[in-house]
Subunit: 359 residues, 4 copies
C-alpha cells in the first residue's frame, strides 16, 4: 500500500495539493447500508476551515465537498466513496519569493531532495489543506460509528504554557465549539486566546496539545501484536501535520508511576466486567476493554512566522527569509477535528476487522 | 495484511507464545547480498534476555536463535529468513492459579473477550517474550543498515522520577551496556538501580522512558502523507508491550514552545544542507532531513506485582489475586534493545521504499 | 488493502459508477520526474470509448479526463495523481424496467445479495465504464515504462470461431488500430466484423480472445513466490469485466506438450543470455527473463442481449426480461486497451519493486 | 506486503528452501475457536509428498509437519499458526554439476540475475517443495471452511493429449485417490499412467490440467473491482510452480460462445435464487452466486528431463547439460492437493472479508 492510503478495511486514499485543481479522497471499504448525512460532513469540514475566528488565518475558501460516487439515494452502497473539494483562486498568487528557498522547518527541503521536484505553491501537498480529505473520511466514519453508539470528542487542553487537563473529562460539543480555541473551560480558553493573540502580535507562533476521548467502544478492538489499537492511533496521529507526540491513558506520566498505582482493578459492573479506574486509557494488551479511550496529541508551533529567518536556497546558499501574508499563529484549534477524524477511521477499521476474529 | 506482520518491503511476520513450542518470525523482503553475522543476532537477543543482572527476573532461558531459511553460505539470498527460538521447560509450570482469573491491566480480559479462548500459560502471546521475534528481525535490519552507515542507539533516560536527559546526547554502547539499567550516566544509573530495588522490596513495579538516536540517515526517508517517518516509528513503538507514549524531536515540550524558538534554520554544511539546531528531531514534513533522528518512548510500570489485588474471574465474579513467582519490577532496561530493533525495521523499510520515489 | 485498489508500489484506487457523478481514480506511487502527456492519456481513453465504429454501441460520451493533482508544470511530483471523467446525461434515463430485476449473468443478483443495496442505473459500478480508471492509470504507467524502453501491444486474436493467432507476432499499432476489431490481419478482421454484425442482427453477442505482447522488459521482474509476474498478470486480467481465462507462453497448449519440446534452451545472445525459443512467454520461475512476455485473455460474450430471457425479480419470482437500448455485441475490441492498461500497471509495479531486491 | 505472503485476512507467509534446514509458514488471521485436526493436515501433506506411487519420484522424505504456535489444547486461538517441516539429509548431495549452470526453463537464470546470488541446492526456494507451506495452510483453511459446509475437490482432467472432462462433474475423493494420477475415471486414468510411463522411458516429461470444484459456497464472496473471486483464484493458481493458465466456468471456450448460449437464466430454487445452468462457473460480477465454483489450471511439462540439453553457464558460455537423478515426469497428480490448498485459502479469505460488507 502506497503512502497516501490509510487503513486496512476502511481505507482512505487522499490526494491533492494546496493550490492544485482540487483536494479530495476515496474511501474504500465503507460498509453498505449507511444513511449518509452530507451536511454533517460539510459541518465537519467547516470546523477545520480557516477563517472561523479572529485568531485564525482569514483565507476565505468555501471548501465545499462534492461526493462523486459510492452513495445511491443517500445510502452507502459498499462501493468506493470519492469526494473532492475544489481549490479556489489557486492560480492567483505569486510564489516567486519561496520558489527557490527552503523555508525553515517546512517540508520544502526534504521533499525536494526526495522527489527532485516540488510544487512550491502554498507548500503543495505538504500543506495542512491535505487534512481536508481526512476530515471528510473521518466524518463518514463517525456516521458509521454512531450506528454502534461510538462517539469521538476532542478538545484543546494546552496552548503554550496554559493548561486545562482533567484526565478523563468529556465535555459536550457545545462547550467545545463555543470556545475559539476549542477548550471547554471558558476561563482557560480566554487565556489561551490571549496568548495566541500575543504570539501573533510578536510575529510568532505557539504549540499545544489536543486530548481525544472515545466512548461507547466495545471490548475487543485492536489486532495484536503490531496493530494494537494504540499503535494504529499513534500512526494516525503522528501522520497529522505538526504533530510531535502521542500518549494514551496516563502516557508519559506512567513512566513515574508504580504498578500498584497504575493498575486498574477489575470490578463487576452490573453484569459486565469493568475497571475501577482507567489509567490504561481504555486499551489493555493492545485491545479495547470497553472503558473510554483517552489519548493526547502534541503539536509544535507552526513553522511559518512573519519574522526574518536564516535559511538556504536550493543551491545551498545562505539567504534571509520572511514569510509573506497572514498565517495561523496556532494550528491546535483547527487540528481538533482532524484528530477526531483520524481516530474515527482507526476505530471503524478495527471494528470491521474484529468481525473476523472468531469462527 | 494481518496483525502479526509489520513493514511493507522489509516485513516481519511474528509468531509464538510464551510457553508454546517456539517463538520466531519470518523476515521477508530483506535485500540479497548481505553477509549475515548470526553471533551478532544472538548478542542482541542476549541483551533482551531475562536474568542478565540482579535487578532482572532470574528466569534462565538460553533463547538460542536458529535460522531456518533465506541465508546461503552466510549471505542473504533475498528469500524469506525464518527463525525460531525454542521455549524450554514450557510444560513444567502450574498455571491453575491464573487459568480462570483476569489479571489487572494485563491482556487476559480483552483477549479472552476478543477471541473466546486464551492461552493462559505465562500470558500466551501477550507475553513480552514475543519481542524475541522483533529483536532478531531488528538485528538483521541493523546489519543491512550498517552497510549504509546508519546506526541506532537507545538508552534509558528515566526510571520513575529519576531522569537523565540531555536532548541529543549519543552515548557509546559501552557506556550503555555497563549500566544495569542501560543509562550511560553512572551516577544516575546507580540511583535508578536503587529505585528498582526499592520497588522490588515493596512488591511493586516502576515505569520509565527510553530515548533512541539514529545517526547516518540519508535525506529523504518517509512516505507522505500517512507513512511519514515519525508515523511509522510511532506505530512501531506503540506496538511494544507496556509502551504508553511516543514523541520525536522536542515532542510534548514543543507544545509550549514558540515557532521562533523551535524552527531549525538551514545552514550551508560544507556543501550539504544542514540545520543549525535539531528541534525537529531529524524529520521535517514527515521525511528525514539528514540530522540525527531523536525520539522517546514511555513505558508504564509492569502490571505484574507481588501484592494482592482486586480482580474478577472469567465469570465476572470478584476475586483476590496475588501474582506468583518473581518478575521484573521494571521492564525499561530490557525494552532498550526492542526499541532499537523496531526502529531499525522502520528505517530499513523506508530506505528500500525510497528507491522507488524517482523515475 | 480494500478491493478497489490494485498494485503495491504503483497503485490505482478506482471509483465511480456508470451513471453517477463521475468515474475516476487515484494513482499513488508514480515516480516523480516523468513528463506526462495528457493528450496520450486522452487518446488511450478514446480507444476504449464506445461509439468508435459501426460495430460498437453508439452511446456518445466525450469521456474527457481531468487531472486534479500530482502533476506540476507537466511533470509528475511523486504525489498521488487523481483524475476524473464526468458522466454526462447520467440522470436522463429511465431504469424502471431493471430496477427490480436480476439480469441473467450480470452482477445484479450477487452484488445485491452481498451489499443489500444496488445502484441499478446502467449496472452501477459493475459496468465496464469502470475500466476508464484503469485505462488512465495504465496510460500513465505506459509513459513511465516507455522511459525504460518497455512497450505493450495487445490485439484481438479470436472472435467466436474466427482465429488469428501467430504465437509471438507483434503487429504495429497502425495495423491494429485500422481494424474495427483490433485484429491486425485485414482478411481475418473482415470476417470478425461480419460475425459481430451477424450476432447483432440476431440480437445476440459473441466472445473472443485478446493477446498481449510486452517488449523491452529487463530480466528480473516478479516477486516469488506469490507475486510471480504471471500471477499478478493473471490477477489483473481476471479483474477485467467479462474475462474468463488467462494463459501465458504456451498456456493451455503446454498441457499437451513434452518437456523436450517446451523447454527453452539458453544461448549466448551476443553478450547477454537469451533463449533460443520462447515457449515460456518471457517468464521463468515467476521472473522475467528478458524475452517478450506473451499472454492471452479470454472474454465471454456480453450478457446483455436484446432477446427475451428467463430471470427472477428481487423477490425471487420468475419474470421475463428483454434488454432495452443498443449494446455492443462484442466487447473484445474495446477490451484491448484495458488489457494493455492492466499489463502496464503490473509491469511498472514490478519494475519499482525490483529496485529493492539487492542491497 | 512482500512476495512471500498471500491473502489479506487469512494470510500465509511461506519460507524455506528445498535443501535448507526447514520449510514452513505462518498462517495469520485464522479465526479463533476452530478445533484443528493435525492428522488431517499431515494427510494432505502426504498427498503432495513424492514417492507415493511408481510414477512419482522415489525421493523418500517423511515430511512431518510440526505446529509451533497458535493452537492451544487443540483449538485455534486467533494467534498466528506457525509450522515447519524439516528437510532430511539435505546436506548429503553433491550439486557441483548445476552450481554454475542455468538449467533450461528453470528459475536458475532469472533468480540469479534478480538477486545476484542463488541457492542452487535442489533449486533452492524455486523448488516445488515450497508448496509444502501452501498445503499446510490450505489444510487449515479447509477445516475452517468445512464448518461452513464448503468443500473443495480437485482432480486431473488432462495429461498430454488424454482428456477426461465432464464440465461440472464432482467425483468423490475415493474415486480420485484410488487413481495414481488422480483422475477419477479408471479407464482414462490407466491411459494417463501409461503415457507418463512412456515419457519417463523416453527421458521426457509431460503437462496436464487440473479441474477444481468448490461446493457449498454462499452468495457474496469476492471484492469488486480488483479482488473479484476469479481474480484472486487466478493469482493463487498462477503462483503455483509450472502453472501456465487459468480459466473458470466455460473459460476459453466462452470465447466462441454466444450470449444466448452462455447466459445462465435465474430460476426460483425453492426459496433461494439459483441459476438453471452454470456456464458462469459459480461467479458473476466477480462475486459468488451460490452455484459450484468451477475452474481449470494448466500445467506445463516439468523442465527437468534426463536428456542432454543446450544451455549456458553463469558466464554466458554455451554448455551441454543433462539432469542427474530421477524426477517426476509429470507434476500434475501432485499438483492436485496444491490447487485445492490455494483455492481453500482464497475462499476463506473472501468469506472473512465479506463479513465487513454491510453495516
Amino acid at each position: 500500500m502506497a503512502g497516501n492510503s490509510f487503513g486496512k478495511i476502511y481505507q482512505l486514499t487522499s490526494f491533492g495539493e494546496s493550490h492544485g485543481e482540487a483536494l479530495g479522497g476515496v474511501v474504500d471499504g465503507c460498509p453498505a447500508g449507511v444513511k449518509l448525512d452530507v451536511e454533517m460532513i460539510q459541518h465537519e469540514l467547516d470546523r477545520r476551515r480557516p477563517g472561523q475566528s479572529r485568531i485564525a488565518t482569514p483565507r476565505n475558501e468555501s471548501d465545499r465537498v462534492e461526493i462523486l460516487s459510492g452513495v445511491f439515494e443517500g445510502v452507502t452502497t459498499g462501493m468506493p466513496i470519492a469526494f473532492i473539494v475544489r481549490n479556489e483562486n489557486q492560480r492567483s498568487k505569486d510564489y516567486s519569493n519561496i520558489k527557490d528557498i527552503f523555508r525553515p522547518s517546512h517540508a520544502d527541503f526534504t521533499w525536494y531532495s526526495k522527489y527532485g521536484i516540488r510544487d512550491y505553491r502554498g507548500g503543495g501537498r505538504s500543506s495542512a489543506r491535505e487534512h481536508i480529505a481526512r476530515v471528510v473520511a473521518g466524518a463518514i466514519a463517525k456516521q458509521v460509528l454512531s450506528e454502534f453508539g461510538i462517539a469521538i470528542t476532542a478538545y484543546t487542553t494546552q496552548i503554550g504554557d496554559i493548561y486545562f487537563d482533567e484526565y478523563d473529562y468529556i465535555p459536550t460539543s457545545v462547550d467545545i465549539e463555543q470556545s475559539m480555541v476549542r477548550c471547554p473551560n471558558e476561563e482557560v480558553s480566554d487565556r489561551m486566546v490571549d496568548l495566541i493573540e500575543e504570539c501573533r502580535a510578536e510575529r510568532d507562533s505557539i504549540g499545544g496539545v489536543v486530548k481525544c476521548c472515545i466512548t461507547g467502544v466495545p471490548v475487543g478492538l485492536g489486532e495484536p501484536v503490531f496493530d494494537r489499537c494504540q499503535a494504529l492511533l499513534a500512526h494516525a496521529m503522528l501522520s497529522i501535520n505538526a504533530a510531535k507526540g502521542f500518549e494514551y491513558g496516563e502516557g508519559f506520566r506512567a513512566a513515574s508511576m508504580r504498578g500498584s498505582e497504575h493498575n486498574d482493578p477489575f470490578i463487576d459492573g452490573n453484569g459486565s466486567i469493568r475497571t475501577f479506574t482507567n489509567h490504561s486509557g481504555g486499551i489493555q494488551g493492545g485491545v479495547t476493554n470497553g472503558e473510554t479511550i483517552l489519548f493526547n496529541v502534541a503539536f509544535k508551533p507552526v513553522a511559518t512566522i512573519a519574522r526574518e529567518q536564516n535559511s538556504v536556497n536550493i543551491n545551498g546558499e545562505p539567504v534571509k527569509f520572511t514569510a509573506q501574508g497572514r498565517h495561523d499563529p496556532c494550528v491546535v484549534p483547527r487540528a481538533v477535528p482532524v484528530v477526531e477524524a483520524m481516530a474515527a477511521m482507526v476505530i471503524l477499521d478495527l471494528l470491521l476487522q474484529a468481525r473476523t476474529n472468531k469462527v
